[in-house]
Point group: C2
Chain length 199, copies 2
DNA sequence: CCGAACTTTGACCCAAGAGTCAAGAGATGA
DNA sequence: TCATCTCTTGACTCTTGGGTCAAAGTTCGG
């Protein structure tokens, strides 16, 4: 790959990262290309050299963010060693929430639907979410089949976990640093109880 | 109150209801007064006779919706009779989710922060949420003190419940009618496990 | 150092949507 | 029926923000 090509890629990556930030903070409608450009110390027109328009930029932002995010979770799942199922699930939940809170503080807002994303984007978001859920779904069903876990319904359990995780960054944003770490632990511990057999 | 006065109030109520619908469906930014007016079979200008502007209308919508919603939950809490604590909590959760899904399908979107509501509104939203949480907080702490419930952290538990409930309408929207009822039950059953002592 | 390819700029266009208002249409009540 | 008060209209302005583009600036290989 030529030097020029590489530079371009780097540029694109940077733009997408900043765009993801803005879209994450403001939602689709309230984000302006002007602001994205400003944060990059560039003018709006320049963005159009790389992207056809707002939609395309938003798509790229979601695509990248969502993929990074999901791949990271999948990697986590394979790298987390063998241990009692509940401990394993807890570790996964904890790490996952921690990553969300620390590294993608605004990212998950992209995955809350209420904002009116363009229709094409919404489908892509749903797809990413499915892949994302799959990691936890596997853990849960395996645990249930082995008799280590008991759930009312796998779907409802996933739904509850997903909802909680996706709103965690919002909640934790208010808290001071130490309280935040505590909150992450608490959330993970709390969510594990969803799969443990009741007394 | 004069006949005229009453008519005006009725008019205002109607406007606010429709506005809440639109804001709920589209979010703040993507909603237009034009659309609100259209659904009312009126022109935009007419709205300005009753409200100073978009912000004020949105505030009124959130205020009304949030208050109705919260009062309804509070009423539910006092009307739900004495029974074992977990059954009581389950009933509350179930009813609450059911109301959300059936009667305010879009309403809770108003209470998800990601959309950029005007700053003044956000505070009001937070306040309503606090009042809203209080109902469940009371149930939980009472249960914990009595030794019937065990939680990792009351705050984390509330957070998980709130997140799940607030996203329930979105989830249930995809489902067919019977599946929806089942989903509501499952969610309630699932959430109750958050407070039951683990094995 | 030159020319070609790549990149950025800023002025510009345009549509959408918030907000205004004078004029008129309805109600109301004496 | 007239006078007044209430309400609605639709045409208007103004701002914002997406999108375009020719011209200027930058980079790079030869």
């Amino acid at each position: 790959m030529s030097r020029v090509q590489r530079k371009r890629d780097e540029r694109v990556r940077r733009i997408v990262a900043v765009a993801a930030e803005v879209f994450g903070e403001r939602g689709y409608e309230a984000s302006t290309l002007e602001e994205v450009a400003e944060r990059l110390d560039v003018t709006k027109g320049s963005l159009y050299y790389y992207f056809a328009g707002k939609d395309e930029l938003a798509t790229a932002a979601i695509e990248t963010l969502g993929t990074d995010w999901t791949e990271r979770l999948e990697a986590l799942a394979t790298s987390t060693g063998d241990r009692p199922r509940d401990e394993r699930l807890r570790a996964l939940l904890r790490e996952h929430i921690a990553i969300a809170v620390h590294e993608y503080p605004a990212a998950l807002r992209l995955f809350l639907v209420p904002d009116s994303w363009p229709a094409a984007l919404r489908m892509r978001i749903r797809e990413l979410r499915r892949r994302h859920d799959l990691v936890f779904r596997r853990e849960i069903t395996a645990g249930v089949e082995a008799g280590d876990f008991a759930v009312v319904s796998v779907d409802a359990t996933l739904q509850a976990m997903h909802a909680t995780m996706s709103q965690a960054p919002l909640w934790c944003a208010h808290l001071a640093a130490e309280a935040r770490e505590q909150a992450i632990d608490d959330l993970a511990d709390t969510l594990v109880r969803l799969v443990s057999s009741p007394r």
